[in-house]
């Protein structure tokens, strides 16, 4: 009997059962395993791991009324079964092309397509963009989908968060959601998590219809705990184009006849704002408010 056949039968046995099956019973119910106890154990553990790696949800459950207490395995059909998205050929082709051209680091997106019936696409398989991946992304996405709370360490604190929205912006993954410790909506950078994600109980806070989905698109000067102030900077014509790409969606921009622009920003992080203005060197100027203008002048005077 081949390994493939053994894996298929193991999956069928675990799906068909209505109670958790102890290992000894599985051994009787399955063919193709060795007679030796040790060899069977090793082969069974390997097979179980193979199925889990494929995403097959094998659950381990206690078996009641046994002495000593034992446990068994099963697959709940509700956890296993997915919905076929019923993609039309042109949709499959478009999705397959996307999965080939844009990779999430370490995940074979094009391979996923074959299980959806994506077939194979002729043509070049040149990757246009690769997004970084983190081990935490899968659990975070799953918790977002299943509306569960998650816990993770961030900075010096353990956070308990109801994740709402996962985003990738400026080269980083962010998760936004309700923070039960701070009792407020918060945004976290996934590559700064200081621990693994543990999935907890169901979410209890009402998720907004449209979470602040642009949270991660916010520029650095909007992300901070300073009292928000409106600041206006003037940027010389040469750099206005470059500046526009970095001003964020909420900036108000007025263009002058000479091509220079005045951009009004909402600043909640003065240090980040100062850094942004200084990237323009002498080609930009803080016009208002006076206190931010003074802050920049004093910062520079300290360096002369």
């Amino acid at each position: 009997m081949t390994k493939l056949e053994r894996l298929l039968n193991l999956t069928a046995a675990l799906l068909a059962t209505e109670r958790p099956l102890p290992v000894d019973e599985l051994r009787v119910r399955l063919e193709g395993y060795s007679d030796s106890d040790d060899a069977f154990r090793r082969a069974f553990e390997r097979d179980k791991e193979s199925l889990r790696l494929m995403g097959i949800p094998i659950s381990v459950e206690p078996i009641h009324g046994t002495d000593p207490p034992g446990s068994g395995y099963r697959i709940h059909p509700g956890d296993y079964g997915g919905v076929d998205p019923q993609l039309e050929p042109d949709e499959l082709a478009a999705l397959h092309l996307a999965a080939t051209k844009v990779r999430l680091e370490g995940i074979d997106g094009a391979g996923v397509m074959q299980t959806l019936g994506g077939g194979s696409v002729e043509g070049d398989d040149e990757v246009l963009a690769e997004l970084p991946a983190h081990d935490e992304l899968g659990p975070l996405f799953e918790a977002t989908r299943a509306k569960r709370q998650v816990e993770f360490r961030y900075g010096d604190m353990v956070r308990r968060v109801e994740p709402w929205h996962l985003s990738f912006h400026r080269g980083h993954w962010y998760i936004n959601g309700w923070d039960h410790v701070r009792e407020a909506e918060r945004l976290y950078r996934v590559d700064r998590f200081a621990s693994e994600v543990t999935v907890g109980g169901p979410a209890v806070v009402d998720r907004p219809e449209r979470p602040s989905s642009n949270a991660a698109r916010r520029p650095a000067w909007e992300m901070g705990d300073d009292e928000p102030v409106e600041a206006t900077i003037r940027i010389d014509p040469d750099l206005s184009m470059w500046a526009r790409a970095h001003l964020g969606p909420d900036a108000e921009v007025i263009e002058h006849a000479d091509g220079s622009i005045d951009a009004t920003l909402s600043v909640r992080n003065v240090e980040a704002f100062r850094s942004f203005v200084l990237t323009f060197l002498d080609r930009a100027e803080v016009l208002a408010p006076p206190e931010l203008r003074t802050d920049l002048i004093e910062w520079l005077e300290a360096q002369t």
């Binding site: 949709e91 999705l95 005077e301």
Partner: protein
Amino acid sequence: MSRFTSTERLTRLLAIIPWVVEQEQVTLDEVAERFGYPRERLVNDLQDVVPFVGVYPFTPDALVEVELDDDTVSIRYADWFSQPLRLPADKGLALLAAGQSMLEISGEDEDGPLLRALTKVGTAIGVDAHGAIDVRIGAASEQILATLRTAVAENREVELDYYVFSRDERVTRTIEPHRLHADLGQWYVDSFCQLARAPRVFRVDRIRSATLRDGTFTAPDTAGAPTVFNAAADVARVVLEIDASARWVADTYPYDRLEDLDDGAFRLTLAVTGDPWLERLLLRLGPAARVVGGDARFGGTFTADAAARVLARYPR
């Protein structure tokens, strides 16, 4: 016969079996094409594997039934496999992220096939594909990206008005764009620069305008992968001592050498691709950094001069 591992074959069969069951009868060619599975491999599995799949006690009524002839197949009594395996979360995310990125790259219409596919996949997984995740692979002008996409596709020359960030200088260049790609939140265009007569990479967000020219070029067979940052040995170096609070500098810029000092401070040797680049870094770091070595021109009043130039915009 095949390059497929057992688990790759299993993944395919767990998708193929429920689909064939639902179709009642399909041609082998159709299955092979839909699931990207070689026909020979498929026939082999349908003949020698699937009919022996079942549950204890493996009597005929507990086995999957496969009817196979030269061209068609039907499968019955595969109740355990009536649904396809749910897409695992990380793979679902990979698909949605790739799809959203591709929308940004190719700029599809609202009723295009990719957008429809993403909506369907999102619904199947149980998320709002356009609400639960948001992927933007780079900040750049849509219009400039579109011009470059056209130029790459049609092998057209492009004239760029480009801002050289490291030298704080505006230049005009005619390029032969070979490839547009995104990395770490930035778009780049790999090109052949006609002025430099050499491959060059341009960052799209620093292109002020891009104009399609009539001239065309022959694209190289394999687009060489020129590196974005390649600090030549003859570029000047600076040695900085930086406080622990600005550790990000070591994470952000490629450096030659890093030495740890007391209290989390560190000494960093960096290549200076242009003086304005170093001026920005030093003005931004302020008291958190000190120039302690490297090319003599970066010592002395280098930082103070830069600060004074910016201060000139703020007459008292």
